[in-house]
């Protein structure tokens, strides 16, 4: 008999029964396997293949396992204590979602603002700072212009970046990374010394050769 010498279909069915909850399996897996074997045997005795039957039974088994899990889950939450736990969890989840959705995000900063205003606009979640890209930096250097001031050569690009915050004391150092340069737009990160912050900037190339203009910036977070 097929039951005493289970074939591949019986083995597959036995594996599918593992999808049922443990308690259900312990009580019914054996008689269910027996019944499945009986059904296959009946087909075999009638000279029919079990293909159609197994597909139906496998689908029914999957649906049944889902149903039993759903019932067990409902039983678990149907006690008063479980309902209270579920209720508190849902309220917590709702509160968390509300907080996340209302959490402030760092705002775009227009150049020329004072540091206090920049600090206000920089509160909240920040995007990651941009990393340097050597080929973009090389392209910017290629297009950059320079001016001489009191015998020292200054980069127009660095000067544009340095104009970001109005009241940063003269001579405050800043580091620049250049992440991308395309369609006359340069993106990168500048980090001021003395706690004046780190920002992702957008600088536009002006039509005049070697000239740049800081378009906007936003506080960023270093990884």
């Amino acid at each position: 008999m097929a039951y005493s010498n289970p074939g591949r279909q019986a083995e597959t069915y036995a594996k599918l029964l593992r999808l049922y909850p443990k308690a259900y399996r312990q009580q019914f897996a054996e008689p269910m396997q027996q019944m499945f074997a009986d059904m296959c045997n009946e087909r075999a005795q009638n000279g029919q293949t079990a293909g159609d039957l197994t597909r139906k039974v496998y689908a029914e088994t999957l649906a049944g396992a889902l149903r039993q899990h759903a019932q067990e889950t409902w039983i678990v939450v149907s006690t008063t204590r479980s309902k209270a736990v579920l209720g508190v969890s849902l309220i917590g989840l709702l509160a968390w979602v509300t907080i996340i959705s209302h959490r402030p995000v760092a705002q775009a900063i227009q150049p020329g603002l004072g540091f206090r205003q920049v600090q206000q606009l920089s509160k909240g979640d920040k995007r990651a700072c941009l990393t340097n890209n050597d080929s973009a930096a090389k392209a910017v250097r290629h297009d950059d212009g320079f001016v001489t001031y009191k015998g020292t050569l200054f980069s127009n690009f660095e000067a544009a970046a340095g104009s970001a915050i109005a009241d940063v004391p003269a001579g405050t150092n800043y580091e620049l990374t250049i992440s991308s340069y395309s369609d006359a737009i340069v993106r990168g990160t500048m980090t001021y010394a003395h706690g004046y912050g780190t920002y992702n900037y957008t600088i536009s190339k002006l039509p005049a050769a070697g000239q740049w203009e800081l378009a906007s910036m936003v506080a960023c977070k270093k990884p």
């Binding site: 008999m1 039951y3 005493s4 259900y24 009580q27 019914f28 008689p31 269910m32 396997q33 027996q34 019944m35 499945f36 009986d38 059904m39 045997n41 139906k56 039974v57 029914e60 088994t61 649906a63 049944g64 396992a65 149903r67 039993q68």
Partner: protein, 102 residues
């Protein structure tokens, strides 16, 4: 209803349901044992002996039987069906179904 006259194992219950429904209802093991589980929990059905079915192979099978509560529930259900059938007959004969909102 398949258990009203005698204890049966799962496969025999399935065959009885098929026969009673003139092959219109076919239950696989998942559906059958899902129903049995609910009826066991409700106290309508109980597990009987595990024994060999002389008409089948030498495997021992768990037999299921109706409890007293199950017999009462079956009787109540049959009464309800008889009432529905009677009402339907009256309706078909033009007597109407006054009082039932139908």
């Amino acid at each position: 209803m398949a258990l009203h006259d005698s204890e049966k194992h799962g496969y025999a219950i399935m065959k009885r349901v098929e026969a009673d429904s003139e092959d219109k209802v076919s239950m696989g093991p998942g559906t059958l044992y899902g129903s049995l589980k609910r009826m066991l929990e409700a106290g309508l059905v109980a597990e009987g002996d595990k024994r060999v079915d002389p008409d089948m192979d030498d495997q021992r099978r768990i037999y299921y039987k109706l409890t007293d509560a199950g017999k009462q529930a079956l009787e109540a259900e049959l009464k309800r069906y008889r009432r529905v059938v009677a009402l339907t007959k009256r309706h078909a004969s033009g007597a109407g179904m006054a009082g039932y909102g139908l």
